[in-house]
């Protein structure tokens, strides 16, 4: 009797099923979706996803700070899961769906989550903000009604040297409430 199966579903980070291979020093073509748009680009296999987004696609939202998974400034969603893009190879994102902070707003209209960061004063210098927003987005997409502890846990991998975190917590909590209200309407 099987009573437990892999929870991370087909689109989960653990299952990325497109075959791809490359020779050393040779370039390889990756095919993925970034912020809803299909992107086909030639890269080198040793390129990081973070550098692919910033240098190739000129999406400067994800930031490089520690480069080692410690600070969360480079967080993006990969197939719906928050990941630190400094620890992912661009080639690993072949076939994946990537969402960066640039994909949150509709044109100039900020999303509810972004609005709450503004309303709650959840940023000062703003360097950590794209990563914070993406960790929060990853949480709320999977869990629209998180407990306080779940919010803290989901955001624990994002460091901020300015705000003291309380306003960030409030922004996520309030955004969750507003998103739920909007859905009920």
């Amino acid at each position: 009797m099987t009573v437990a199966e892999l929870k991370h579903d087909e689109k989960g980070c653990a299952m990325e099923t497109a075959h791809i291979s490359s020779a050393r020093e040779s370039r390889v073509v990756i095919d993925l979706v970034v912020n809803g748009e299909r992107v086909i680009e030639e890269i080198e296999p040793n390129m990081l996803l973070l550098h692919f987004l910033r240098d190739k696609l000129k999406l400067f939202g994800a930031k490089e700070s520690c480069g080692e998974g410690e600070c969360g400034a480079c967080t993006v969603l990969m197939n719906g899961y928050a990941v630190t893009s400094c620890l992912v190879l661009a080639i690993e994102a072949n076939g994946a769906e990537i969402l960066t902070v640039e994909g949150l707003s509709k044109g100039n209209e900020l999303s509810i989550l972004q609005q709450e960061f503004v309303f709650q004063d959840a940023l000062q210098c703003g360097f950590c903000t794209p990563g914070m927003l993406m960790s929060a987005r990853g949480l709320l997409d999977k869990n629209p009604d998180p407990t306080d502890e779940e919010i803290r846990e989901a955001m624990a991998g994002n460091l901020c040297r300015c705000t003291g975190y309380l306003q960030i917590f409030d922004a996520v909590k309030r955004a969750a409430e507003r998103e739920r209200e909007e859905r009920e309407e």
């Binding site: 009797m1 099987t2 009573v3 437990a4 199966e5 892999l6 929870k7 991370h8 989960g12 980070c13 653990a14 299952m15 990325e16 099923t17 497109a18 075959h19 791809i20 291979s21 490359s22 020779a23 050393r24 020093e25 040779s26 390889v28 080198e44 296999p45 040793n46 990081l48 480069g67 080692e68 998974g69 410690e70 969360g72 967080t75 899961y81 928050a82 990941v83 630190t84 400094c86 620890l87 992912v88 190879l89 080639i91 690993e92 072949n94 960790s135 990853g138 949480l139 846990e153 989901a154 955001m155 624990a156 991998g157 994002n158």
Partner: protein, 283 residues
């Protein structure tokens, strides 16, 4: 910028095993949370990267009653945190998974990668050791099984040869009335390995098992200590005795994370806390 390598993502296991056997300087890539850091610091000379995440048979996370739990090489740590079964049957593993790194890292990091990396301070090995975990290993020559207690051979060293790949880790069904917990001391939650991590189990027959990380070159299962605890029988006195005696069974060092003396002290404190939690005794 990382040094150059080629990359292959096989969709079947045999292809991955053939690739590993073919070239020297080949490295398996799972979540990459250790491997990419080693590449970044040029600690390894990886010429060939074999990404195993396209191989569906390594995705297995499956429990069979009276047999046990199989955790495939692609199962990420957050899948263990999300699993009610792991929480109910293997509480120490759930505790350890929940405190590993940050949420983003747990979405990528695999349990199998955590043991293959063989860091003495890794959080998952102690929780696996108290459940008599067995590691299933494959190469072009076939499959072998190695108990996790024999898997670690030193700091960042395991019994794996260059041509071998871990398919899964198996934990026997602990049965009814089994309880366990994992407690760790760390400098900073979400950003550091443990300074000391202790896993304890009280099985259905009242027997205690203890394993500990970050106090020797490998994670340790403390069988001699367990035997004496079980011989004395669990009581307030035994708990106090064991929390001192644990120091005869560990060889911690002083490093950036803590001094030897602090590690010894915390090993004692954490063992006491674990045993108090599991037995309900007051000490």
């Amino acid at each position: 910028m990382l040094s150059q390598f080629d990359y292959v993502k096989p969709l079947v296991l045999d292809e991955a095993l053939a690739a590993l056997a073919k070239e020297d300087d080949s490295y398996v890539l799972a979540g990459g949370t250790d491997l990419l850091i080693m590449l970044r610091h040029n600690l390894i000379n990886a010429r060939h990267i074999i990404d195993i995440k396209g191989i569906p048979e390594l995705n297995e996370l499956c429990f069979i009653e009276n047999e046990g739990l199989t955790i495939g090489a692609n199962v990420v740590v957050n899948a263990l945190v999300d699993s009610e079964l792991v929480k109910n049957k293997y509480k120490a593993l759930h505790d350890a998974a929940s405190c590993l790194a940050s949420f983003q890292l747990r979405n990528r990091a695999t349990l199998v990668g955590n043991i293959c990396n063989a860091s003495p301070g890794a959080d998952l090995p102690p929780a696996l050791l108290i459940y008599d975990a067995v590691v299933k290993i494959a190469s072009v020559d076939g499959v072998r099984e190695v108990p996790l207690v024999e898997f670690f051979t030193g700091v960042k060293k395991t019994v794996l040869s260059d041509e071998e790949l871990v398919i899964s880790v198996f934990l026997p069904d602990p049965g009814e009335n089994d309880s366990s917990c994992y407690m760790r001391q760390t400098r900073l939650k979400g950003h550091d390995l443990s300074t000391v991590g202790v896993a304890c189990r009280l099985d259905g027959e009242g027997k205690v098992s203890v394993a500990i990380g970050a106090v020797a070159t490998t994670p340790l299962r403390l069988t001699a200590l367990e035997a004496e605890i079980n011989q004395r029988g669990i009581s307030e006195e035994t708990i106090l005795w064991a929390s001192n005696a644990i120091n005869d069974h560990i060889k911690p060092i002083s490093d950036v994370r803590a001094s030897e003396a602090y590690r010894r002290h915390m090993a004692s404190v954490l063992l006491k806390r674990c045993l108090v939690t599991l037995t309900g005794k007051e000490v």
